[in-house]
Symmetry: C2
Subunit: 372 residues, 2 copies
């Protein structure tokens, strides 16, 4: 797209410009868009500063002056991004179920967002998570992608990051939905994580490149996480956690809302327990999530029986190692040490225990879980 | 009751005798009782060994020979027991909601069982409980009785014992329903606990004095726990835990069924999570239990808010001590050391912390929780 004469932008150009000058959670703007359409509204703002009916569009003016000459095609090329607008093949139609759909989506990474929205599962939770929450989120992330369900989350500290990492550990599909621009790694500490997700999965935002992750944008972002997935799982959340706004959005959208329980003595699980008491489904593992969000009769979770899970008999170290073994991909002892946080001796003794139980086997390039 | 001529027993005598010679879970006997009534059936067994229709009552004979001359009045006097039968003022009418009601109840202790059945809450769970489960059960037991709800349980190791002990710590009402006779302390290790419950609360069984706690009797006992309470809370239970038979009985009786969640990584909470997934209400504390079982509009639990609980800000030691402080009864430092499992220095520093926060105050005879 080359710079254009003001007022003759196509829908794509109008929407990307609008994403720079107005927030989708601004009710007044949503109403004007509903009345005039994006292209006309942006045209009125650029040409006349008012609608034909005489409604002032001044509120858009200051940001318009700074943004109207930005060449988005060039920005996208330079940053390796793409812009999605309604009508694009990759545009997730599900976004129109939102009261305030985004004007457009800025995206980076190989995953197709329309496909993600058909099968993705949001795994979200507290930033100040516990070790328990991180472990559960990572396990859930890994097990969901292994069952073919991409993991959607917000790349925040704590549960979000653990869920993404779990998915990546088994080379699975994962999508980070950001509050700021997709080129603004936030939080900083997750820069490498976001780089990896941008390379192998997708990083998405409705905020234009360079946009700051402002507080209101976090709350608005949470509705996108809910809308881009068929169900949302809250892993840990305090009573006033932001993750509960994602839960509310999922409920409002009629998506499956699930929560993982935890100790009643932990404040980090109190929000999850409240969600379950308010109607969310209690889930304890990926199989139970898939039972709810999966295709009826195909992905059904097996009924749990007292004696069915061999891993219940394992000592804690063996269990820990076993949880990081994958059926279709081998892991080296070094890798298992890093992932499990155990020492060399502990990992080796766990592997030998697992081998004896026919729960793990050694290949040329490492260890994998035995399929049964 | 003096020894009587065979075949002319009154209803009470017939029922106590029947409790010695036939198990209530014996369907064939329940059917004969439904046809003839207890007094006539026992009369036929003693006189003729058959019903007027010629149905053999031989199955009752061997135990009848051993039991017919026992003087139950004398037994009750000697052991400090009472026998309850339908029609007695203290007989809990709710027992008739059972498919197989007990023939009679043997009881010991000052609590009236008809009153217990109107307000009691069953707190049950695994024998092989975790420290987490024990803590939650004890807290629940204490908080329920402080709200005026007697705690009904089975005096087993683990959750049952913790629930009874929690109730006793605050001098609350608690009822132990046993599988064997009320004069047979089982498990042995809980002999003192049962003595205390028999002195201050009630120990109950449908099994006659001296009766062994046989396996089938445990399963049958669980239905009595459910029937003698307005709701059942499962605190910890493995997938195949016996506590789940109590849960099933509560569900079958249309009573409130509740379960306490725990870490999904703990097999001891797996049965609780399954119960919640099957429809049991998730509860995290006594207030939420009372919200379900209490009188509508009177005992309602306050809505949880993020910032409402001062105890969330406490360090673990202060919280532990605070949990054992009561608003209406003072506790000595020694007592708090024993209950909290903390050392003298830790308890004193916790108390000074709590005093500063206006959450505890010192009286002449010890410490109590500050009312707000």
């Amino acid at each position: 797209m080359s710079p254009r004469t003001a007022g003759v932008r196509d829908e794509r150009g109008a929407r990307t410009l609008l994403s720079r000058i107005a927030e989708p959670y601004d009710d007044r703007i949503q109403q004007l868009v509903a009345e005039h359409g994006v292209a006309d509204l942006v045209g009125y703002a650029e040409r006349d500063g008012r609608t034909p009916e005489g409604v002032s569009l001044e509120r858009l003016s200051s940001r318009l002056i700074r943004s109207r000459h930005i060449d988005d095609e060039q920005v996208c090329r330079a940053l390796g991004l793409r812009v999605l607008v309604p009508g694009d093949e990759e545009w997730p139609e599900q976004l129109h179920e939102l009261a305030a759909p985004p004007w457009c989506l800025w995206a980076r990474g190989p995953l197709r967002l329309d496909e993600v929205a058909e099968r993705g599962v949001a795994v979200v939770g507290a930033r100040a998570s516990s070790a328990y929450g991180d472990e559960v989120a990572a396990r859930l992330g890994a097990d969901l992608v292994e069952r073919g369900f991409p993991v959607v989350s917000g790349a925040a500290y704590g549960i979000d990051a653990a869920a993404h990492r779990g998915a990546l550990v088994v080379d699975g599909d994962t999508v980070a939905v950001l509050a700021g621009g997709v080129d603004v790694p936030y939080p900083r500490a997750n820069t490498e994580l976001l780089a990896r997700i941008g390379r192998d999965g997708a990083v998405v935002s409705e905020t234009p490149p360079g946009g700051a992750p402002a507080r209101m944008r976090f709350l608005a972002r949470n509705r996108l996480i809910a809308a881009l997935s068929v169900g949302t799982v809250v892993v840990e959340a305090g009573l006033r956690s932001g993750a509960r706004t994602t839960a509310r959005a999922a409920r409002d959208l009629g998506r499956h809302l699930m929560a993982v329980p935890g100790p009643v003595t932990s404040v980090m699980s109190a929000g999850c327990h409240e969600e379950i008491r308010m109607g969310a489904s209690l889930v304890t593992d990926a199989a139970e999530v898939v039972e709810l969000v999966g295709r009826m009769g195909i992905d059904l979770a097996p009924v749990k029986r007292g004696a069915s899970r061999d891993e219940d008999d394992l000592d804690p170290e063996s269990k820990r190692v076993w949880q990081w073994l994958r059926p279709r991909r081998s892991a080296s002892v070094d890798e298992l040490m890093v992932r499990s946080g155990l020492g060399l001796g502990e990992v080796l003794s766990a592997l030998s225990d697992l081998e004896e139980r026919h729960m793990a086997e050694q290949l040329l390039d490492g260890w994998k879980r035995t399929q049964r």
